[in-house]
Symmetry: D2
Subunit: 317 residues, 4 copies
C-alpha cells in the first residue's frame, strides 16, 4: 500500500439478503463494478457500509470475502470503530488475518467524550493495532469533532491519515495546511461536495458514497481535480450537485442518501437493497423516484449497460 492513499475509495455499502445474511453474489458484482470504474481502494464497514448496525460475524465474513475478491488489486480499508475497544481490536485482528491493508477508527460513539479522552483512547488503542490506521472524523454520528490537536497527536501515535466527514471545509483546509510538509499523511475528504476542493488544495483522496453507483464519475472528478482542469471540474461537480439535490433528497430520514445508494444499486441489478436495522429500504414510490433519476442521469452510459449486464446475467441463471 503506497502512501499517501490517493484517489477514490468508495465507502462500500454492505449487500444483504432479506434474512440479513451477506448477499455474496451481489458483493462480487458490486466489487467488480467498482474496480471496473477505476476506484483506488475500498472502504468497508463505514457509515455507508452500515458497519455499527451489523453483527460481528457478518462483519468478519464481509471482510474476508472482500479481501478474497479484491485480491490485492486495490487496498482494502476496514472501519473498526466501536463503542467497545475490545470489539474494535477483534475486528482489527480479523482484518489483518483476512489480508486487509489498513484500519479506520472513529471516536467511540456512545458517551460524549472530550478531545483529551479521545487522545487517551488513541494512546491505548494505537499500539495494539495490527495494521496501519487512519482517523475518521464524523461528528454527526459520534458527537465529537476531532480537533487539530487530536489529529496531530494521532499522527504521532502512528495514524497514516484522516478521513474527514465533518462537512466543515474550514477544518479540512486547516488540516491540509498543517500537514502539507508531511506528504505521507493521507487527507481524505468524506463529503462529496468537497472532493475537488480537497484535491485541488493538496488533499489526497475522497471516500464518496456516490462512487458506489457511479465510480467512474468520481474517478473522473478526482483526475480532473488532480490535474487542475477547472472547466472539467466545474462540469462534473455540477453532476454531483445534481445527485445531491435529487437522488440524495428522496425519502425523509437523516440517512436517506445511504438508502438511495443501496436502492440505486438494486435497480441497476448489482446487489440487493435490504438494510439492517435501524435503517430501511425505500417504499415503492420513492424507489420509483430513484429509478427515474437513474434513467435521466446515466453518467457514461453506466446505467443502461449495467442494467443490461444484470438482465443478461439473470437470464442465464
Amino acid at each position: 500500500m503506497q502512501l499517501p492513499l490517493r484517489g477514490i475509495i468508495p465507502p462500500m455499502v454492505t449487500p444483504l439478503l432479506e434474512n440479513m445474511e451477506l448477499d455474496s453474489k451481489g458483493l462480487e458484482r458490486l466489487i467488480e463494478h467498482l474496480l471496473r470504474g477505476g476506484v483506488h481502494g475500498i472502504f468497508l464497514l463505514g457509515t455507508n457500509g452500515e458497519g455499527p448496525s451489523l453483527g460481528y460475524n457478518i462483519r468478519k465474513r464481509l471482510i474476508s470475502e472482500v479481501c478474497a475478491i479484491v485480491d490485492r488489486r486495490v487496498p482494502v480499508l476496514v472501519s473498526i470503530s466501536d463503542t467497545s475497544s475490545e470489539s474494535a481490536l477483534e475486528i482489527a485482528e480479523h482484518s489483518k488475518n483476512a489480508g486487509a491493508d489498513a484500519l479506520v477508527l472513529a471516536s467511540p460513539y456512545y458517551f460524549p467524550i472530550s478531545q483529551k479522552e479521545m487522545i487517551d483512547y488513541l494512546r491505548f488503542l494505537a499500539p495494539k493495532l495490527p495494521l496501519p490506521f487512519l482517523l475518521y472524523n464524523i461528528p454527526s454520528c459520534t458527537k465529537l469533532h476531532l480537533s487539530l490537536e487530536t489529529i496531530k497527536e494521532a499522527k504521532e501515535l502512528g495514524a497514516i491519515g484522516i478521513k474527514d466527514s465533518s462537512g466543515d471545509m474550514g477544518s479540512l483546509y486547516t488540516i491540509i495546511d498543517e500537514f502539507k510538509d508531511q506528504p505521507d499523511f493521507s487527507i481524505i475528504a468524506g463529503a462529496e461536495l468537497f472532493l475537488s476542493d480537497t484535491i485541488i488544495n493538496g488533499g489526497h483522496a475522497a471516500v464518496a458514497g456516490g462512487a458506489n453507483i457511479y465510480p467512474r464519475l468520481f474517478v473522473d472528478l478526482y483526475e480532473a481535480s488532480y490535474s487542475k482542469d477547472l472547466e472539467r471540474v466545474k462540469e462534473l461537480r455540477h453532476l454531483i450537485l445534481k445527485m445531491h439535490n435529487t437522488l440524495y433528497s428522496f425519502g425523509n430520514t437523516p440517512t436517506k442518501s445511504i438508502t438511495a445508494i443501496k436502492c440505486a444499486l438494486a435497480i441497476m441489478g448489482i446487489c440487493s437493497e435490504y438494510m439492517v436495522e435501524p435503517l430501511h429500504n425505500f417504499d415503492a414510490q420513492t424507489r420509483k423516484q430513484v429509478e427515474t433519476f437513474l434513467g435521466d442521469f446515466n453518467y457514461g452510459g453506466a446505467y443502461h449497460t449495467t442494467v443490461q449486464v444484470a438482465a443478461n446475467e439473470k437470464r442465464k441463471i
Copy 2:
C-alpha cells in the same frame, strides 16, 4: 416482578480490575451494599454501568454473576441497547437465561434516526425479546429524544415502562400525564434532581447513579416523596443538590459523575475504580477531592461504617 416497578433502581457501575476483567469480589460487595441500603431493583449495563464500552463476554459474565448474587431478592434489569440489533438480541437471550427480570432498550446510537425509524426498530425488535422491556430515553448519548408518540407506540408493542434520562422535566410530566390511567406502565426518572418531583407527581421509580454510593439516601428520598412528606423531601433534596455541586463537578469530562461514583466506591473500599475505555479514573488530586467530600458528606454514617467494614475485611485476607 410486580408492575409498575417502584422505588430506587441504581444504575450499577461495573466493577473492573486493572486488566478489564470483572472485579467479582467488588461486585459482590457492591450488590450487598445496595441491597443493605434498601434498593428496589438493580439496573445493569446502562450509562453508569459503561455497558456499551464493554466486550460482550464480560457483559454476559456480569449479568450471570449479578443474577446469581441477587438471587431474586430484587428485580434485575439489563440494558441491551446496542447499535446492532443482532447483538442486542444476544444479550437479551443471555439475560433471560441468567434469570434477569427485564430488559431496557435505548435507540441505537450510531446513526442519527427519526422517530419513525425508532418505531420501526421497536416493531422489529419487540416481538423477538424474551423478557419484558422498558424504553430508555437518553438523547445526550443517543442523539434521539423519544417523542410521546414513540413512547405510546412502544407501549402498544409491549413496553412496560420508560426510564427518562433526558433531563427534560416538561417531557417527563407529559409522560406521567399521558399514562396516568395505565398504572402498570412504569415511569422512571433517570435524573436524580427530578426524583422527588417524579414520585410526587405520579411517577414510580428512579434510576439514580448516586444510589451506587448512598443507596439509603435515595431510598429515604423516594419514601419521603411517596408519602408526600415535603419537609423531609426538601431536606434530602438539598443533600442531592450538594452532591451535584461538589462530587459530580470534580474532574472535567462530560461523564465526570460516573467517574466520581466509581472513585467514591473505591475509596469506600467497595470495589475497584478502573474504568473501561474511553473513560478513565480520576487523577490523584481529583481523587483527593472525592475523599474529602466523602468525609464531609457521610449520610447516615455510611462512609465510616463502610470504610471500617472494608478495612476489617482486608485485614482478614
Copy 3:
C-alpha cells in the same frame, strides 16, 4: 414593591391594531381581565409581549399606558433587553419616568457571548439603571444559558431576582438552593409546567404566558402550590398540561404558543390578535381550533363570561 416578588406575573401580550399602533382599548380590557383574575404583577415587553420586535416609540407608549391603567394596583415590570445597551438604557429611563417598578434584563441576543462577557455587561449596565432589575434567562432566544456564577455576580451587582425560562429544571433547583438563605432574591419560573415545582420547592413567582388567558387558573395553581395542597396542584397542573398539548400545539411555528394566546384573547373579545413581524396571527382554520379549545376548556367559566362581556360592550358602541 415588596420583595421577593410573589405570585403570578403574566408576561403580557402587546395588543396591536392592524396598522401596528397600540390597541389601547384592548390594552385596558386586557389589564382589567388580568387584575380581575388576581395576578400579582404585570411584565411588559418580554417574549410573549413581542418586545424586541416593536419600535421604540410604541414600546414607550405601551409602558406609559400600562402604568397609567394599572395605577400602582400591582407592580409593573418592564423588559429592557436589547442588543444595544444605549437603547436598553433609553427604555429603562422611560420606565422609571412612567412609574414602572422594576426592569428585567436578558443577555444581549445578537452576538454569541461568554458568561464572562455577560458579567462585564452587567457591571457596565447595572450601575446606570434607574430602577431595581431582575435577570432574564431565556437561552432559546439569546443563545446564552446564564450560569449560577453569572447569577451570583448579578446579585452582587444589585439584581433583585431572576426569571428563568430555560426549561432546565435542574438549573432552577440549583438557583433555589443557592439563594435559599437570601429570601429577598426573587426566583421566578418562566415555564408554566414548572410553576408548582418552583413554588413548592421555595421559589417565589411565575411568569406564565397562559395567565394572559386564564389568570385565575394560574393564581389558583400558585396558591395551591404555596399552601402545598398537592391534590389541588395535581388537578390544576393537569389543566395546564392540557393547554400545552392542545392550545400550545396548534400551528407550526417555534413561537406558536404566543400566537395561540393572542388568538384566544381576540376570540374572547379582549384585544386584537395582530402580531408584529416576524410573527403572524393564525390562519382561519387554526383560529377555529383555538375557538373549539376555548369552548371546551373554560376554566372557571371564564370564557363565556368574557365573551358575553365583550359582546355586550360591542353592542353598546
Copy 4:
C-alpha cells in the same frame, strides 16, 4: 452600482472613542486604508461592524460620514438587520438619504423563526425598502440557516444577492449552482477561508473581516482566484490560514476575531480599538500577542508603512 457585486467588500469595523462616540478621524483613516488597498465596496454595520450593539443615532452618523468620505468611489452597503422591522426601515431610509447603494438584511434575531416566517418577513419588508437589498445568512447569530427555498423566494422579491456567513460550504455551492444562469445575483462569501473556492467556482465577492487589516492581501487573493492562478491562490490562502490560526485565535470569546481586527487596526495607528457592549477590547497581554503577529506577518510591508504613516500623522498634530 454594477451587478453582480464583485471583489472584496470589507465588513468595516466601527471606530469608536472611549465614550462610544464615533472616532471620525479613525473612520477617515480606515476608509482611506481600505480604498488604498483596492477594495471593491464597503459593508457597514454588519457583525464585524458591531451594528446591532450600536444606538440608532450613531448608526445613522456612521452611514452619513462613510457615504461622504467614500463619495461614490466604491459602493456602500448597509446592514439594516434588526429585531424590529420598524427600526430596520428607519435605517434603510437613512441609508438611502445618505447616499448608500444597497441594504443587507439578516433574519430578525430574537425569536427563533421558521423558513416560512422568514419568507413572510421578506414579503412584508422587501416592497418597503428604498434601495436594492441582499440577504445575509449568519445562523451563528440569528439561529436561522436560510434554506435554498428562502433564498429563491428572496430573489423573486427583489434581492440582488446573498452574503453567506454560515460556514457551510456545501450550502454555498448549492447556491452557486442554483443561480449560475442568473448572473446578476451576487453570491458573496462571508467566510474568509472559502473566498477562493467561492470565486473559482462561480461566486462573485467576499465580505472578509481580515480585509479591514490587510485589504490588499484579500484583493490579491480575489484576483488570483478570479484568474484561476491556483499557485498564487495556494500561497495567499496559506497566509489567511495563518491569520486564522494565530491572530483570530488570540483571546477567548466567541467573537475574538472581531476584537483582534479592531486591536490590530489600533496598533497600526488607523483607528481606536474601543468596542461597544457586550464586546470588549483585549487586555494588555493579548494586545501584545497581536502586536507580535503584526510585526511577523506584514503582508506587502503594510504594517510598517502604515505604522509609519500613522506616526507621522500624529507627529503633525
